[in-house]
Symmetry: C2
Subunit: 175 residues, 2 copies
Amino acid sequence: MEERTISSQRPFEGKLISVRVDTVALSSGRTATREIVEHPGAVGILPWDGERLALVSQWRHATRATLLEIPAGTLEPGEAPRATAERELGEECALAAGHWEQGPSFFTAPGFCTERLTLFVATDLRADDVDAPEDEELELSWLSLADAVAAVEDGRIIDAKSVAGILWLAQRFAP
Amino acid sequence: MEERTISSQRPFEGKLISVRVDTVALSSGRTATREIVEHPGAVGILPWDGERLALVSQWRHATRATLLEIPAGTLEPGEAPRATAERELGEECALAAGHWEQGPSFFTAPGFCTERLTLFVATDLRADDVDAPEDEELELSWLSLADAVAAVEDGRIIDAKSVAGILWLAQRFAP
């Protein structure tokens, strides 16, 4: 099924994302255009204290709304996902974890974007006050897993990585 | 927490996506730059015959891989999500559904993209052979819900909407 790239342009290069426009040859011989957003990749964290999950509320300019999400962040150049997760848990939640476990890893929007996001479960939590970046304003809250699942069902949580992560954790704890 | 837009540019306008770069004022008084991918929105479909889920395998140029996903598609201008879902179920799976139920709706990548994706459960399925678009090449397969959940766990399914949709359906059917 592979599509072979015939020609490629990069009409936008930003600080976070770039856009590539490829002309590709399909296996049928036809050609098609693919608009691709290049993204460095990301992590999402499920900080679990044994009874509750730490979530953050944050204004998301793209959505024109404040969203309730699992803590998350973008990979710095050359940074391993686990290191990003440790950094973001400190910056967004002022927490450190004694135990880390990697969960599912998925493409957030494979139809047009290269972003792959890896989930981590962070347990054995302790306070770890670090300086947060000055362009992020967040509010921390703690939800039971049952309440987090209810928040997915009733539309309080409308962020894909959070929906996937919370339902995955619930699935693991299911009888 | 709202960020006020001070200035805005649109450095890329494509057929599927556009890029907007906004300078915003934070509530602290500082300014920041937000790179936003504008996307018309999408649907994902969980076609459920009572025992198995219909999935599609498709080359995803952005990921350089063939992914196993729930059927999905992008909203046409002015199209209601439910109509998109009916159209895509026909085009991608050659199926029509007698019953539709709306599921969770979420932003796929709220940190930088406006895309909101709505899930639908399609049941009472019947064959409905329609012409597929010529730039899409898909293979249909049917998985039990248990196998679909296992595919999320073992990394056969690495697409966010599919992970979220399958785990949501499994959660609904949980005892």
